[in-house]
């Protein structure tokens, strides 16, 4: 994680020195994740998410010099985003409709319900969606480009060679990154669920 933060700090330094490719890396690496972060907290209102994320990214850019790399850049942006979402709800005269599990101290309790076994009823569909959301949340929480790499490989069926070409790195380096991406995903998802993903685990 320290490595990722150092990389974020370097990205910010390059942005502050005016490097166009640094801006592209910043925007492409963070906008999609922030957008999803906002969508989930704005009742899936796409217009509101666009408005909020634009404001957040503009504000963050104005304060870029204050980023010290003590947290991931995405985490830092999420802090702005939470505040802006609260302001948005206040401006619209709405109370924040719900608090997401990952925003509360009750993460474990909510997620434990997922492990309670699933049949075929409507509740199970809810559980399925919650797990799906947690998976996506974990992907969004990974350092760039881990989340994208995992999707390319396991959802879009890209080969290591294709991913290497996309990232403009060697296949060997891609394999190594994929291993680290899987490990990071496993740890992140385990942390969200509050238990290990080990296949030997007997807890259900």
């Amino acid at each position: 994680m320290i490595e990722a933060e150092a990389s974020d700090r370097s990205l910010v330094e390059r942005m502050l020195s005016g490097q166009e490719e640094a801006f592209v890396e910043f925007f492409d690496g963070h906008f999609p994740r922030l957008y999803r972060f906002a969508m989930a907290r704005l009742n899936q209102d796409a217009d509101a998410a666009e408005e909020v994320v634009q404001t957040v990214m503009c504000r963050a850019i104005a304060k870029l010099r204050s980023y010290r790399g003590e947290a991931l850049l995405f985490t830092w942006l999420c802090t702005f985003c939470r505040r802006e979402i609260a302001d948005w709800h206040r401006r619209k005269g709405r109370t924040q409709p719900f608090q997401l599990p990952e925003d509360s101290q009750e993460t474990r309790a909510v997620l434990e319900s997922l492990a309670a076994g699933v049949g075929g009823g409507p509740e199970d569909e809810f559980h399925r969606k919650e797990v799906a959301r947690m998976v996506q949340l974990t992907l969004d929480s990974l350092p760039n480009p881990y989340g994208d790499m995992l999707e390319w490989k396991y959802l879009q069926g890209h080969s290591v060679k294709e991913i290497a070409a996309r990232l403009q790195i060697s296949p060997k380096a891609t394999e190594s990154l994929l291993t680290r991406a899987r490990r990071a995903f496993r740890e992140g998802f385990s942390a969200l669920l509050g238990e290990s993903l080990s296949p030997d685990s007997s807890r259900v």
């Binding site: 502050l16 796409a46 990214m57 799906a132 959301r133 959802l155 899987r182 296949p199």
Partner: protein, 357 residues
């Protein structure tokens, strides 16, 4: 069924994208299969539409450029200020040692011009400040070097801009002597404070307008963007209407060509446009400024949007943002977007764009 499947409890997941082959029973392979199953369950993460992404990218990019320029400016100030302070201290010490009175500044209570913005090399004949806010007294020569530009506010109210490699003397509040290079004058539409630009080839008089005077080695070129101007060439007064460029050659030959208000030739004028404050300015006033600076006509897609949004009060600063870049940064904050159709900036609600195919 693995532990993860039990947790997610999803029967009948679609056919997996198989992970790369590895030895059977390898924990890494088991993990990989579990991750693949989980990802299939979740599906691709939702993404913003391309138009939405582009709108935000444009606005954030514009904001980033503002920050970068402001940062460069902030870093430049000490480099200018320290040598100036050191030089000033040196002069004071010499003056004290010789018991000489310190020279009084020549700037009177009513300066002829105030520097609003400068970029690149800029010199003034009296050795005074070339930072924004500096005052210029009667008779000052101002010169920009290669790549240098400056914007000044004349006491008569007009906006004066100097392009690169230009030398100009402030003869009076309404008379400027152009020795070389090019100047742009925008009277802001005000009448009664006409400014004359004198050149060795002839004198151009403003008639409440926007125009450029460019002096070449052996030619004079006057381009009128808005309103009209007169060029006195010997005994003749030549009227030049908006959208026209008049070129006078060394033997008095005259030619006229068409130049639109948004022609790329005006680009240098946009680059050195004085900054404006957005604070408490309405969207309508902001758009009027954009229109005047860019030469674009501004049109709302529908009357209702115009009536509803034009009175929105804006906040913040446009420091460092060119007038032609500013709409992309400001309009989305008012729920609007824009596109150019020829020289017309068409403004429409963001939601209208979302609904389009």
């Amino acid at each position: 069924m693995s532990d993860l499947d039990k947790k997610s409890g999803v029967p009948g997941s679609p056919e997996p994208v198989r992970p790369e082959p590895s030895p059977e029973g390898d924990p890494e392979v088991v993990h990989e299969e579990e991750i693949a199953r989980l990802l299939r369950l979740a599906g691709l993460r939702p993404a913003a539409g391309p138009e939405s992404t582009q709108r935000v990218r444009t606005a954030v990019h514009a904001r980033w450029r503002v920050e970068i320029r402001a940062r460069r400016y902030r870093r430049l100030i000490p480099w200018i200020a320290i040598p100036m302070a050191a030089a000033a201290a040196g002069v004071a010490m010499i003056a004290l040692a010789r018991w000489l009175p310190r020279p009084t500044p020549e700037v009177g209570p009513n300066p002829l011009a105030i520097l609003e913005r400068a970029e690149g090399p800029l010199r003034r004949s009296d050795g005074g400040s070339v930072l924004a806010g500096a005052e210029f007294p009667l008779g000052t020569d101002i010169s920009t070097g290669a790549g240098g530009r400056a914007a000044l506010k004349l006491s008569a109210g007009a906006s004066l801009r100097l392009d690169s490699d230009t030398t100009l003397r402030l003869v009076s509040g309404t008379v400027l002597d152009l020795e070389q290079g090019a100047v742009y004058l925008d009277s802001g539409g005000a009448r009664g404070a006409a400014v004359a630009v004198r050149t060795p080839a002839g004198t151009v008089r403003d008639v409440g307008t926007q125009f450029e005077v460019r002096l070449g080695e052996s030619s004079l070129r006057v381009t009128v963007r808005e309103g009209a101007a007169y060029l006195r060439l010997g005994p003749d007064d030549l009227e030049i209407q908006a959208g026209t460029r008049l070129a006078a050659g060394p033997r008095g030959e005259i030619s006229r060509t068409k130049v639109t208000a948004h022609d790329p030739d005006w680009d240098w004028v946009l680059k050195i446009a004085p900054p404006i404050s957005l604070e408490d300015r309405t969207l309508g006033a902001f758009l009027a400024w954009v229109s005047r600076e860019t030469g674009w006509q501004v049109r709302f897609a529908d009357t209702a949007t115009a009536q509803e949004r034009a009175s929105i009060v804006l906040h913040g600063s446009l420091d460092g943002l060119r007038p032609d870049e500013a709409p992309a940064a400001i309009l989305p904050t008012c729920g609007l977007t824009s596109h150019l159709e020829g020289g017309v900036l068409v403004i429409e609600p963001l939601d209208a764009l979302e609904g389009s195919p």
